[in-house]
């Protein structure tokens, strides 16, 4: 774990060095601020002390931002050959992947931490349901983690960052929209399967304040499968 943490710190530092982190923070806070306070069905429009508006904006903006963050994680290393330096150091493939995962997740958590003032402000205007806010934030973190692990996998496949970006966005769209749509257009057990696979269902119930172990297991499985597949790709490349 210690070694993975070294990788995570480097990744996080490199997000800030390359301005990527600042661009993400500005865009994310700009969008979520705009839609939470000023535009559309904002807090004042729905006249309720809740962060529902913020959660649904964050749900969409993170979906687009995360592939942009993850696309270079392994593609760049594959291309420049630094992957060889990394994997010939006394560190396992799994630690490398884990470190990159944690570094990116940390950046998302930092971005989310900057939105805590929204929570404090709304809590001061009216009676907010603290439980649903906490479970909503947890949902956002779990969703981000799932997309980061998908993004890592997409990035490991080729040494082209654009391929990494598009692939992770395409896999993401399956979970974000398509499984949900398919669930509606089938009946019986197939509908149940797609319903379970649809990420939006799991996220929405968490954003409403329901923490169900089934949702947690769902997110953790995506994360785990993503990371395991990335490890398999790395192994395969060295055969």
């Amino acid at each position: 774990m210690d070694k993975a943490w070294i990788i995570a710190r480097r990744e996080l530092a490199s997000f800030f060095d390359s301005l990527m982190a600042y661009i993400l923070l500005i865009l994310f806070l700009g969008f979520s601020g705009l839609f939470t306070w000023i535009l559309g069905s904002d807090v004042f429009f729905i006249n309720q002390a809740s962060l529902q508006a913020f959660f649904s904006v964050a749900y969409w903006s993170l979906f687009f931002f995360i592939p942009a963050l993850t696309m270079r994680l392994l593609a760049e290393e594959n291309k420049s050959g630094t992957i060889e330096l990394l994997l010939t150091r006394p560190i396992s493939d799994w630690q490398v992947i884990n470190g990159k995962f944690m570094g990116t997740l940390l950046l998302i958590i930092i971005a989310l931490a900057f939105t805590i003032p929204y929570y404090i402000t709304v809590a001061n205007i009216g009676n907010i349901d603290h439980g649903s806010v906490i479970s909503g934030y947890l949902g956002l973190i779990l969703m981000s983690a799932a997309y980061i692990s998908i993004g890592l996998f997409a990035s490991s496949i080729s040494n082209n960052q654009i391929v990494g970006f598009l692939l992770s966005l395409s896999i993401g769209i399956l979970f974000h929209i398509i499984f949900g749509v398919l669930a509606g257009s089938f009946n019986g057990w197939l509908s149940h399967v797609f319903n379970y696979l649809s990420l939006s269902n799991h996220f929405e119930s968490m954003a409403r304040g329901v923490i169900d172990t089934r949702d947690i297991i769902y997110f953790l499985s995506i994360i785990f499968i993503g990371l395991i597949s990335t490890e398999a790709v790395l192994k395969r490349k060295r055969m």
Binding site: S14, R89, P90
Partner: protein
């Protein structure tokens, strides 16, 4: 710590990149790994550093099997990969700290080691610069510094001097020689002079097979072909007469004019020392002046060409 490679093979598709090679490198030895491009040098090195998994064969670092326990082996190896990949967006000193931490250098020793490497590799003035801002020579030094940072017992350097200017090449060679006294070093190159100047032993590999293995002197001895002598003679006869006189000597296979005018000849002989004496005696007998008599060693280039061109 020795490196022992036994019957190593590696296939890319149906092509054999490395074909059943075995060799040993002893502690304190610098092994020069020579071969044309695509001969299997890099693949062998990647297998030793555990980056690539060989299809068959064994690799031992000391007594540790590199294929069964890669994590143990990786701690002992410092590696400079081909083309010297680096995180170009990092500052030199941050990068070295990062690699030191990855290599498991104790926290309180990291700064000390980084500083030492900065001094050893001559990076003092550049340590706060970003790697991408450095010239190729300095980048190469950073690559060497990261390979040495954990004071590994084994060094694997894949073409350590590509892209350097002659002064830098000499500096890096000196550095490798100095470090190599106490470590086991494998370095690959296709520059023959470099290998000859730096290495204790030379191994030539072609099409995945070892075609020669020994010191430079041993390789010369084994190579076929005649010895070459350059002779320059002055006297009161025409150059054609020198030519015929030289050509008639025993053991001489061929005589060539080295320039259009002047009396400089290249003489191929089957017996170097006899011919040297014969030429001297010939000149004494005819009262010619022998101005130059230079035995030319078989060049490593020729051995290399002979072994790798089929």
């Amino acid at each position: 710590m020795d490196i022992k490679v036994e019957n190593l093979s590696k296939l890319y598709g149906s092509q054999k990149a490395v074909d059943d090679i075995s060799f040993v490198v002893k502690t304190g030895e610098i092994l020069g790994f020579l071969g044309p491009n695509g001969a299997g040098k890099t693949t062998t090195m990647k297998a030793i550093t555990t980056f690539l998994k060989p299809d068959s064969g064994k690799i031992f670092i000391g007594n540790i099997n590199a294929i069964d326990s890669p994590q143990e082996v990786k701690k002992k190896i410092g590696y400079l990969p081909e083309n010297n990949p680096l995180y170009s967006d990092m500052a030199v000193i941050d990068y070295l700290r990062f690699v030191a931490a990855l290599n498991g250098v104790a926290k309180q020793k990291i700064d000390e080691r980084v500083l030492e490497m900065v001094n050893v590799c001559g990076l003092k003035g550049e340590k706060h610069k970003k790697i991408e801002e450095l010239s190729k020579g300095y980048q190469q030094r950073v690559g060497l510094a990261q390979a040495l940072i954990h004071d590994p017992e084994i060094l694997v350097l894949d073409e350590p001097t590509t892209g350097l200017d002659p002064n830098q090449i000499i500096e890096i060679r000196e550095l490798i020689k100095r470090i190599g006294r106490s470590k086991t070093v494998i370095l690959s190159s296709h520059i023959l002079a470099e290998v000859e100047a730096t290495c204790d032993r030379i191994m030539i590999i072609n099409k995945g097979k070892i075609v020669a293995n020994g010191t430079a002197a041993e390789l010369r001895k084994h190579s076929q072909g005649n010895d070459l002598i350059i002779a320059e003679i002055e006297g009161n006869v025409s150059r054609d007469q020198f030519y015929t006189a030289l050509a008639e000597l025993p053991h001489v296979e061929m005589v060539d004019f080295l320039s259009d005018s002047g009396n400089k000849f290249e003489i191929q002989s089957t017996n170097m020392s006899a011919t040297k004496h014969d030429i001297f005696d010939l000149c004494v007998k005819n009262k010619w002046y022998l101005v130059q008599l230079t035995p030319i060693e078989t060049k490593l280039e020729d051995i290399f060409r002979e072994l790798t061109l089929n």
